[in-house]
């Protein structure tokens, strides 16, 4: 159980070290490995967020699908907000709505909240237990529960598979 | 051709700095000014990378790395102070 967190932290630190040095000499490799092992031992004890990642092939495929959906939503929503800003009458109808999520693990909730924040037009103000409070720039006059479910559902179906 | 387009985008970024500074001078509350600081930091990361291209030195990218890592800690501390939970 600790092995998983240790592996993830070690590989992230080692990759950052190698990219910053831009060389694969033996001395850089040994020095980076020693420092990464020490830091990973120090921090893997209190770190519980990496425990519930699934390392199955299906999760790997779904990660890429999640990234593709996320980038597409990011660009689409940015054009939307550029259109709102450039219209002279400023067609906004802001409001704070709430939506419940089914995800259990903390890392999955973190990624869900951050991806909602990064798509402009919606951003997460607070999470209390399993309820997300989302601020929307343009609230359609359809009922608010359905809108909240629509915003969450886009990312939730991929995160359910990646984080068991 | 490539050079001219990069210079035009540099000028556009500096012009948007001026607009954000107007927001800073007019802003009603403290948090408006913190948002202005955040936008200035993020867009100056872009300006520094453009300068690294036009001077042709890779070490300038390290400056923007330092900004990307450190500047958001300052924003978090200011927000925690205003929330009265530091």
């Amino acid at each position: 159980m600790k092995i998983k967190a240790f592996t993830v932290i070690f590989s992230i630190l080692m990759a950052v070290w190698l990219i910053l040095n831009q060389s694969v000499d033996i001395e850089y490799l040994v020095l980076g490995a020693v420092i990464s092992v020490l830091l990973a031992f120090m921090f893997c004890r209190g770190c519980s967020v990496f425990n519930d990642i699934n390392f199955t092939p299906k999760a790997f495929v779904y990660t890429f699908m999640f990234l593709a959906v996320f980038i597409f939503e990011l660009i689409k929503a940015n054009f939307d907000i550029a259109r709102i800003v450039l219209t002279p009458s400023l067609p906004i109808k802001p409001g704070i709505i709430k939506a419940k999520t089914k995800l259990k693990s903390r890392m999955a909730r973190l990624i869900l909240a951050n991806s909602i924040t990064l798509t402009p037009g919606t951003f997460t103000i607070d999470i209390i237990d399993d309820t997300l409070y989302i601020h929307c720039v343009h609230l359609d006059d359809a009922d608010r529960e359905k809108l909240g479910k629509k915003i969450i559902r886009k990312f939730e179906k991929y995160l359910e598979v990646i984080y068991g | 051709m490539v050079d001219i387009i990069l210079k035009i985008s540099m000028v556009i970024i500096v012009f948007s700095f001026l607009l954000v500074v107007i927001r800073f001078l007019r802003g009603n509350t403290v948090l408006d000014r913190v948002v202005a600081l955040d936008v200035l930091t993020v867009s100056s990361i872009g300006l520094i990378v453009l300068l690294a291209d036009s001077f042709g030195r890779v070490i300038y990218i390290d400056v923007s790395l330092v900004y990307a890592i450190l500047s958001f800690i300052g924003v978090i501390v200011i927000a925690k102070y205003l929330e009265k939970s530091l």
Binding site: V16, I19, L20, Q22, N78, I81, A82, I84, V85, L86, L90, I92, K93, P94, I96, I97, K98, N114, L118, P120, F123, T124, I125, V137, R144 | M1, V2, I5, M10, I12, I13, S16, L19, I22, R23, T29, L31, D32, V34, V35, A36, D38, V39, V42, S43, I45, G46, V49, L50, D53, I61, S64, I69, F72, V75, A79, K80, L82, E83, K84
Partner: protein, 118 residues
Amino acid sequence: MEYLKIAGAFITLGGSLFILFASIGLLRMPDIYNRIQAGTKASTLGTLLTLLGIGLIHTDWLLKIMMLIIFVLISNPVSSHILGRAAHYARMPISDRTEVDELEEDTNIVSQEREEEK
């Protein structure tokens, strides 16, 4: 090779235009939440596109620029989320055009229950 450079230059131009839209939005929006919406996030995509364009022009810098993109992508939503949260708990004025504020209702109910328990 030459086409890659021209494509990178146009992507950079698009990114700087998004930064300009972000600052116009920061000037025009009526209250603090909408300013966070328009300001911090359109400028995030603008910076990402600028970095990506420079990465296409100089292909040998691409690894470092990818790392910079990942840092910006992780750190920016955190700071904009915490600014919005601070604005809500410090009782910043909200615009008249706001339709509904369910967080305000829920937190008021919780604090009233606590006072009744006392």
